[in-house]
């Protein structure tokens, strides 16, 4: 049975990765998960300098989901390299570093620095961040900004470059195409969807930051739809995530067009979720006589889709 998938230059032993920000720097879950079994470990988003993050409360549960406003708290790239990377180097898994910056220059500097150290196999750039160069603009929601920042990073790194897309856009396929044109090796989606919750007794927002990002099962149908649309718009691999709780959810993303998947909020509920999902995918393949996992990618069946596809040719 073949579970390996290719993302840029990376060959992952299976399609299951961890979603950035939900798996710390890997060590937090090493008591629960055999990291060697994972397709890739994606670490919490890093910036050049450490960030303090937002005031509490930072998380609040909502129906079938949660809102978070962590505020991109992180220890900074240098501390990560010094204190965390040697732990991750012990494992036979791909290490993908998620990173962000406030400006194009910061993104490029971060990527350059991360590309110069041993033990980092791929980069995932989180472009759902405010852009200091133009206050009103989020890199990930403006095609021009996305193109500029991805191109700048592409110039300074030979590592596999994944661009993580924001779902807070009208046309995700367009954003994916822009990332591809700018040199991305893959796109990952979706990041959290902006939301908010109010305590009706106190009339206060339930998050310290007022708004936050929604994740978990509540967002899965949106994520599946966006993966489906993106898959049909780009040639590069799509990494799907958003509410994956079990192997059935993961397979749904593969059918929609994902080459690999990432597991986020599910880790909180079941700290062994990633390992369980890999096992579940293996059983599904065995039961359905699937010998190569890649057969599943984009395997959604619908007469309507098939007609559109042949019409387009």
């Amino acid at each position: 049975m073949n579970l390996t998938v290719n993302i840029g230059k990376l060959k992952l032993k299976n399609p299951v990765m961890t979603a950035s920000g939900t798996f710390g720097y890997g060590e937090e879950y090493s008591e629960f998960v055999d990291l060697n079994k994972l397709g890739a470990v994606v670490v919490k988003g890093l910036s050049l300098l450490p960030r303090e993050g937002n005031p509490p409360p930072r998380i609040v549960e909502t129906p079938a989901g949660m809102l978070n406003a962590i505020g991109l708290q992180n220890i900074g790239i240098e501390n990560f390299i010094r204190e965390k990377l040697s732990f991750l180097r012990q494992f036979d898994t791909s290490v993908i570093v998620n990173f962000f910056g406030d400006s194009i220059d910061e993104y490029a500097k971060a990527a350059e620095r991360l590309s110069a150290v041993d033990g980092i196999h791929g980069l995932e750039m989180n472009i759902s961040c405010p852009n200091k160069e133009a206050d009103w603009r989020i890199f990930g929601t403006d095609p021009k900004g996305t193109f500029e920042v991805v191109s700048a990073v592409r110039k300074v790194t030979d590592l596999t470059l994944i661009v993580k897309l924001s779902p807070n856009v009208t046309d995700i396929a367009l954003m994916a195409k822009v990332a591809e044109d700018a040199g991305a090796d893959a796109v990952s989606l979706i990041n959290t969807i902006t939301g908010m919750a109010i305590d009706i007794k106190t009339k206060r927002p339930r998050l310290g930051n007022i708004t936050g990002g929604l994740s978990g099962p509540a967002i899965k149908p949106i994520a599946v739809r966006m993966v489906y649309e993106t898959f049909r718009a780009v040639k590069i691999p799509v990494i799907g995530m958003g509410g994956i709780m079990n192997s059935s959810d993961a397979i749904e993303f593969l059918l929609a067009g994902a080459t690999a998947v990432a597991v986020g909020t599910a880790n909180f509920i079941n700290p062994s979720a990633t390992n369980d999902i890999i096992k579940g995918i293996e059983s599904f393949m065995a039961e359905n006589n699937i010998t190569d996992l890649n057969e599943l990618t984009g395997g959604i069946k619908s007469p309507q889709i098939e007609m559109e596809a042949s019409g387009a040719e």
């Binding site: 710390g24 629960f32 993050g53 509490p56 549960e61 079938a64 949660m66 962590i70 708290q73 978990g216």
Partner: protein, 262 residues
């Protein structure tokens, strides 16, 4: 190696209005919890409630079937309402023990425990571990919210002072008021190696911290914050300390009393 385990409910009974004792048994319980540590517990596989809830270890016992973990919980919202409905023989999912737990006092110290409301759940095992050689201040809003009073009476060898904000039991007023009154009449205690351990609602902990700062008292407080992962991965449970944000689930829940920025 911690594990995500399923455990059977052997008891889930009211101890008082709005509070239950939950006893879980599993042959998979691998680590002995320390007083002040906690577990993340989930009641079922539905997605609402989605996240697990943190509960302090109240007691650890063993039975023929293996280890037994006891929790004392207050029925508060969706998660604990659901938990209340669970029956003997039902299963829950949990992992732990998590967090740091209370540091043991040095030999020459006089531990003084201050529990507010359900804060009793985490301080009770500390009182047991210290064989009752402690002063214990325990307060709640009203008498109906005071739990384990008989057990405490049997356990605590020094002063046990009960209070209720509304005066329906023990002294009227807050636990901090009670502590203040006690120290005013026993000033010699402050000169010895007085060491506070406090757990309770946030406003109480803030009052305790201010009081401790005024009197130059050392000690520890156990903090609460909304949690998602419980293992230090999500950074969701941050509290502001003098050295920046720290994670309640990892660097805490027990912090030095002057460390928190209120």
């Amino acid at each position: 190696m911690s594990k995500y385990i399923r455990a059977k409910i052997t008891e889930n009974t009211p101890v008082n209005k709005g509070h239950n004792l939950l006893v879980l048994s599993s042959d998979n319980i691998q680590q002995h919890p320390l007083p002040g540590q906690f577990y993340m517990i989930g009641t079922d596989f539905s997605y609402d409630p989605l996240l697990k809830r943190p509960f302090s270890i109240f007691r650890e016992t063993s039975s023929a079937e293996g280890g037994e973990l006891q929790f004392l919980y207050r029925i508060k919202g969706k998660g604990t309402e659901r938990m209340k409905e669970m029956k003997k023989g039902d299963t829950v999912n949990l992992f732990g023990p998590l967090g740091n737990g209370y540091p043991m006092p040095g030999k020459n110290f006089t531990p003084v425990l201050i529990a507010g409301g359900i804060g009793i759940a985490s301080l009770f095992p500390l009182a047991e571990k210290l064989s009752g050689n402690i002063h214990f201040f325990y307060g709640a809003r009203t008498s109906g919210e005071l739990l384990m009073l008989n057990e405490l009476k049997g356990l605590v060898k020094k002063e046990l002072i009960i209070s209720a904000d509304d005066g329906s039991e023990g002294r009227k007023g807050t636990v901090v008021d009670a502590l203040n009154v006690f120290l005013t009449s026993n000033p010699q205690l402050l000169t010895s190696n007085f060491l506070l351990y406090a757990c309770g609602p946030s406003p109480m902990l803030e009052a305790v911290s201010k009081f401790a700062a005024e009197k130059g008292i050392k000690g520890y407080i156990s903090m609460e914050e909304n949690m998602a992962c419980g293992v230090g991965a999500c950074l969701g449970c941050a509290v502001k300390t003098k050295k920046g944000y720290k994670r309640v689930c990892k660097e805490g829940p027990v912090f030095e009393i002057g460390e928190i920025v209120w």
